[in-house]
Amino acid sequence: MKHLMLTTATLMALTTMARADDLRMSWWGGDARHVATQEALKQCGTKYGHTIAAEFTGFDGYLEKLTTQMAGGTEADIIQVNWPWLPLFSKDGTGFADLRSLTAIDLSQWTEEQLTAASMNGVLQGLPVSTTGRVFFFNKTAFEKAGLAIPTTWDELMAAGGKMGDGAQPFNAVKETAQLIITLSVVQKTGKDLVDPATNRVAWTAEELAAGFEFYNQLVETGTILSAKDEAAAGGVNLFEKPEWADGRIAGSYEWDSTYAKYADPMAEGQELVPVEMLTFADAKTKGVYRKPSMVFSVSKNSKNPEAAAQIVNCLLNEEEGIAALGDSRGLPASKVAAEWLATNGKVDPMVKAANDIAMAADGPVISPFNEHPEIRGLFLDTLEEYAYGMIDAPTAAQVVIDGANATLAKFD
C-alpha cells in the first residue's frame, strides 16, 4: 500500500512537470510590447511545440531582478538584455550561451558589425533586436499655436524659451535625458564619444565637459527647460504621464526613436508629435547621434534546453509568426527578414519609421556601452544634480565625472 501511494505520488508529480512550461522568457516594456510578445510566444510555441512562461515588467527594477536571477542561476531561458548591460553580465563572453553554437538561429539576417556589437570577448552573447537612437520629438501643434517654427538648431530652440505662452516650455530635459543632452552637446562640439575605445578612459577634457554642463545651464536660464528644482516639484512623474506633456505645455523632448508611440499616445486630441532632424550647433563637428543596439535577446547558459530556446528566439526574430506578432513593439527590427516583412506588409508606424530614419541617417561616433554603466550613469546624474542646484560649478562637475568614470573604466582594463 505504501509503495502504491509513493508510486502514485511520483506519477502525479511527473505528470505535473510534463505539463509545466518548458521554457521561460523575460523582458521589460510597456503594455503594447507585453501584449505583442505574449502573442508572439504563443505563435512560436505552437509552431515548435513548446510552452513558454512569460515574465515581464516595466524597465524600472528589471536590471535588479535580472542581476539577482543571474547570480542565482535562475534566469529565464530567453532573456531580453539591454545592450549596455552585456559587459556587466558577460565581461569575458561566458555570461550567456554562445549563440554561434546554437544551430537553430539563422545568423545571416544580421551584419557582422551588428553581431560584433553583441559579442563579448569574441563570443556572441545576444542577438540585436533593433538598433535605436535618441531623436528629437516636438509638439507641432504647440509650436504652431505659439507662432513659432519647429526648431532645427539649438539656437532656435533656446530662442523659443519663454515664448511658448502660458508658462510653457519648448523642451524637456530630466535625469537621463538631461545627461544625454549634455553628452550630445559635447559630442557635437568635439566629435568624440565619452569613452575613448583605444585607451578605455574618458575621451573628453574637463574643459569640454564643463562646456556641456554650462550648455545645460543655458537651457535653464533661457526658459527652454525647467530647472532641476522645479522639475523635482512635480514628484518625479514620467514625462508621458504629465498633463503638461499631454496638452502641449511641454513641447519637445529627446527620446528613443522606438518610443514614439509611448509619447504620442497620451497626447490630447489635436496635438501632433513629430520626430525632427538632430538639432546642432553652428560649429558642430558631427550630429552626434546616440545610436546603439537597443537590446538583445540572449539565451541563458543555464538553460536545460538551449536549442529549444534558440528555436523560439529565431522564430521571434526571423520567422513570420514571430515577426508579425511582434511588429514594431521593439522598434524597427535589426533582422533583415523582419525589417523587409514589416515594410512589405505595411506594419510599421510611419512616425516610428521616420524617427528611426533620422537616427540611422545621422552621423556620430560609435557609442560605448560604458555610457550606460550604472556607476558612470549614477555618478553623472548625481553630479549633474549638484551642479543644477548650484552646489558646484561646471569645471568641478566635469572633473568629478571624469575622475569617477575613469575609476570605473579602470576596473575593466
Binding site: 553580465f89 565581461k91 523635482a232 516639484a233 512623474v237
Partner: protein, 291 residues
C-alpha cells in the same frame, strides 16, 4: 526522550526557517562585507577595505548616515507622541468610537504599500492637494520634493501618518490602567493634565519603551517611502541607508560593499537599542517596581 524529539519536530519548521532565511544570510552578509563580491564573480577577501572606504572616503555614506539619523530622530518621537495623543482621545467613551479606532488604524495597514507612497507623491506634488489647500488659505505653494529640507519632511510625515500599530498598543495600555487611581487623584484635586503626567505616563512607560524600540528599528529600515516618492533626492536629502544599500547591491552590484553598509547599520541599531535598554532602568516602571 521520545517526547523531546516530538517537541523538536514541532519546532523544526521554525528553526529551519530561522536558519535558512535569517541566520545563514546574516552570517553570509558578515563574510561578504569583507570581500569584493559583485554577484557575477566569486568573492575575494579584502579584509577591512570596505569599512575603511566607508569611513574615510565615502561622502555618500556620510551624507546618507546623517540623513538616516535625522529621519529616525524626527520620526520616532513625532510618531510616538501622535500615536499616544490619538490613543488618549480614543480611550474616552465617545459615540462611534470603534469606527474611529478602525479609521485611525487603517493607515498602518496601507502605509507601507507602494500605492500609498505613489498617492503621497501626488498629494505633495507641485499641483497636489496640499498646495491647493495652501493656495486656498492664501499661502504660497511649497516645493515639497524639489527642496532638500521639505523633501525630508514629506517622507517623515508619511511615516508619522502610519501611527496605527503604536496607537493600538498605547490604547491597550491606557485601558489597563486602574481607574481608581484617577478617581483618587481627582479627589486630591489633580487636574486632568496632572493625572496624565503623573499617573498615565509612568504606568505606560513599559509600552512607551516597547514602541520606542520597535519604531526606532523600523525607522532605520525604512525603504518604500523614500524609494517611491523621492528616490533619495534631491541632493541625497532623503537618501536613507537602506536605499544606499539597495543601490550598491542591485544597481552597482557591489554586494560586498553593500553588506558592509548593512552591518554598520545593524551595529548602529544595536548600539542605540542597548542605550535605550540601559536608559530604561531610569525611566521605565514595571508592576511591583519598588522605586
Amino acid at each position: 526522550m521520545k517526547q523531546r524529539h516530538i517537541g523538536l519536530a514541532y519546532l523544526s519548521p521554525y528553526i529551519l526557517g530561522l536558519l535558512v532565511f535569517t541566520m545563514i544570510p546574516f552570517g553570509a552578509s558578515l563574510y561578504l562585507s569583507f570581500t569584493d563580491y559583485n554577484l557575477m564573480q566569486s568573492p575575494n577577501w579584502t579584509g577591512l577595505a570596505n569599512y575603511w572606504e566607508l569611513f574615510t572616503t565615502d561622502r555618500t555614506f556620510r551624507r546618507s548616515l546623517l540623513v538616516t539619523l535625522t529621519y529616525v530622530f524626527l520620526t520616532v518621537p513625532l510618531k510616538l507622541a501622535f500615536a499616544l495623543f490619538i490613543a488618549y482621545i480614543l480611550n474616552h467613551k465617545l459615540r462611534g468610537i470603534n469606527l474611529f479606532r478602525t479609521a485611525f488604524y487603517v493607515p498602518s495597514i496601507l502605509g507601507g504599500s507602494i500605492a500609498i507612497a505613489v498617492l503621497w507623491r501626488y498629494i505633495f506634488a507641485e499641483q497636489g492637494i496640499v498646495n491647493m489647500a495652501l493656495l486656498g488659505l492664501g499661502l504660497e505653494p511649497v516645493n515639497w520634493f524639489g527642496d532638500p529640507t521639505n523633501a525630508l519632511i514629506t517622507i517623515t510625515l508619511l511615516r508619522c501618518w502610519q501611527f496605527g500599530s503604536a496607537m493600538v498598543i498605547f490604547l491597550a495600555a491606557l485601558q489597563s490602567i486602574d481607574k481608581s487611581l484617577y478617581e483618587a487623584a481627582a479627589c486630591d484635586g489633580a487636574k486632568p493634565w496632572h493625572s496624565f503626567v503623573f499617573i498615565t505616563i509612568p504606568l505606560i512607560t513599559p509600552v512607551i519603551f516597547f514602541n520606542l524600540i520597535m519604531q526606532m528599528v523600523q525607522g532605520f529600515q525604512e525603504f518604500n517611502g523614500p524609494y517611491i516618492i523621492t528616490q533619495g533626492g534631491p541632493l541625497k536629502s532623503t537618501y536613507l541607508l537602506p536605499l544606499y544599500i539597495y543601490d550598491e547591491a542591485f544597481k552597482k552590484f557591489n554586494m560586498g560593499y553593500a553588506s558592509a553598509i548593512a552591518w554598520v547599520l545593524f551595529l548602529i541599531i544595536m548600539v542605540l537599542t542597548l542605550v535605550a535598554f540601559w536608559s530604561s532602568k531610569k525611566w521605565v516602571y514595571y508592576a511591583g517596581d519598588k522605586r
